[in-house]
């Protein structure tokens, strides 16, 4: 019994220690934002990388998500003659949940993995040490721009995903299910509240930060050559994905739970 409790305690302590290390890493990196120098070039480059180059994949996933949502809710709701709710269901699910979550997961796979691999390679080839010897703080030069890029560009991406997702629902609704276009659009913003979109954007900012933090953290602490970098990449994607789903629940509960 004692041994069993000790094991649980050890796991719990390990969890606390890991959380502490992560918080420390994030804190140190964010603290560099309050003093010069600022590497604006690096920030811009990361924003383009995270935001702009994710547009195709995010757009594609968003449009199909909206389309399938319309199709599914139609077949479901027609069983109790509530087809009219399709537009509302699509817009609420996309803005509140699916837009941010699917964008977050796609970006975790695309950007989080790339960050972990790039920073991890820099770590195992001494490039991070080289930065230090050239009077450049790696947290300031490598990590902060990525964290900011995640934080700022994910809400923008999600806004785009929301629009494309709703448009996907509209396409299916109008051209396949035969809704009146005007009525569908009316239904779309009839029940939509500011909070629905805002909560989605807050989620997006948090998810963007999580993806970048996991990518940087695991890359920064990788060791042992190509294998270590591969492992860091896996950890970055898996931990970011899990945390996205956990925080998705927590933020939803904070906004809409009562």
């Amino acid at each position: 019994m004692v041994r069993f409790l000790a094991a649980i305690g050890a796991v719990f302590l390990g969890f606390l220690a890991a959380t502490g290390r992560l918080a420390m890493f994030a804190g140190l990196a964010l603290a560099t934002a309050f003093t010069p120098p600022y590497y604006l070039r690096a920030i811009l480059r990361e924003m383009i990388n995270v935001g702009y180059f994710s547009l195709p994949v995010v757009g594609l996933t968003a449009i199909f998500t909206g389309m399938v949502l319309a199709l599914q809710s139609y077949t479901g709701f027609s069983r109790f003659a509530a087809e009219g709710a399709v537009a509302t269901v699509v817009v609420l699910s996309v803005t509140r949940e699916l837009g941010p979550v699917i964008t977050g997961l796609m970006v975790a796979g695309r950007v989080g993995a790339a960050m972990a691999a790039e920073i991890g390679t820099m770590r195992v080839t001494d490039q991070i040490d080289a930065l230090t010897t050239l009077s450049t703080d790696p947290l300031r030069y490598l990590v902060l721009p990525r964290l900011l890029a995640g934080l700022i560009t994910l809400p923008m991406l999600v806004l785009v995903a929301d629009i494309i997702g709703v448009f996907g629902g509209y396409l299916v609704g109008v051209y396949r299910l035969g809704f009146n276009p005007e009525a569908y659009l009316n239904r779309t913003h009839q029940y939509l509240e500011t909070n629905d979109v805002v909560s989605g954007l807050v989620k997006a900012a948090v998810f963007g930060f999580i993806v970048a933090l996991m990518g940087c953290y695991h890359g920064y602490h990788s060791r042992g050559g190509a294998q270590g970098v591969g492992q860091a990449t896996t950890y970055a994607v898996v931990s970011a994905s899990v945390l996205i789903l956990v925080f998705n629940y927590l933020i939803t509960a904070a906004f809409f739970g009562r």
């Binding site: 001494d126 040490d129 010897t133 050239l134 009077s135 450049t136």
Partner: protein, 261 residues
């Protein structure tokens, strides 16, 4: 010994460093005077790179003291560490060029990011440094991945000296270079020390290079400095370890952990 350490540029005492259970440095004592060129020799895996990384502050030793210009640097805070690092330039064993930047941006990195110099001015200095290591201006616009290993090493050397730091650390500067280019690099290091008054700590396996660039040679073995002396003395050190090393003999007190096939 310890009272003269105030005059040395670098003074290391009782330095210990382990990785997990593996003890790498086990009480290293070494000094390096201002404008002196110290060369550290020793077998592969004895911890030469680890020693230099400890001095530069990239690794944190478990015990011991490292004084630079008489100031203790072990356990220094972030701000003070940042100021101290401005004195250093380092060539890494694996070159460690930034592969997301062009060659000239690599060389100019310390000037642009570290010293906030204008890009154009920094580029001119970078091209001059590249020329000093035998690379023409056309190389400046290439990416590090497009260079041969020896060229990468020379770019890394140019990057280390670009900011004209007070103390230079060279981890195997001539490994992977042909003998003629190796000699060009040796000359360059000697020039840095003689003309610019730079203090240089180099690691090398290349005894030709060591004899050429060193004012003093120290040998690291099993976590300690087992011998040190002026360069001419390596040939009559009366130390069996040093003798074996400089003559490159498989038999002797240094046991290589290999088994006959």
């Amino acid at each position: 010994m310890s009272d003269c350490s105030a005059a040395s540029k670098i003074s290391v005492r009782g330095l210990r460093k382990s990785f997990g259970r593996k003890r790498v440095l086990n009480g290293v004592d070494i000094d390096c005077d201002s404008a002196e060129s110290l060369v550290i020799i020793g077998g592969s895996g004895t911890g030469k790179s680890v020693l230099v990384k400890c001095i530069v502050g990239l690794l944190r030793p478990e015990a011991g003291s490292i004084r630079i210009d008489g100031v203790e640097t072990v356990g220094l805070g972030r701000g003070a560490r940042e100021r101290l690092v401005q004195k250093f330039g380092m060539l890494f064993q694996g070159s460690a060029l930034f592969d997301s930047l062009r060659v000239w941006e690599n060389v100019a990195f310390g000037l642009i990011q570290g010293r906030a110099m204008e890009r154009q001015a920094a580029k001119e200095i970078a091209l001059a440094k590249l020329e000093a290591v035998g690379l023409g201006p056309e190389v400046g616009n290439l990416w590090p991945a497009e260079l041969s290993g020896g060229m990468q090493k020379r770019v890394a050397l140019a990057r280390a000296i670009a900011t004209e730091p007070e103390i230079l650390f060279f981890d195997e500067p001539t490994t992977g270079l042909d003998p003629i280019m190796a000699d060009v690099i040796n000359e360059l290091i000697v020039k840095c020390v003689r003309e610019a008054g730079t203090t240089a700590v180099s690691i090398t396996h290349d005894l030709v290079s060591a004899r050429k660039i060193a004012d003093r040679i120290a040998m690291l073995h099993q976590g300690r400095i087992i011998w040190q002396g002026p360069t001419p003395d390596v040939d009559h050190s009366d130390n069996p370890y040093v003798e074996q090393f400089i003559h490159g003999r498989a038999e002797g007190p240094i046991k290589m952990e290999v088994r006959a096939m």
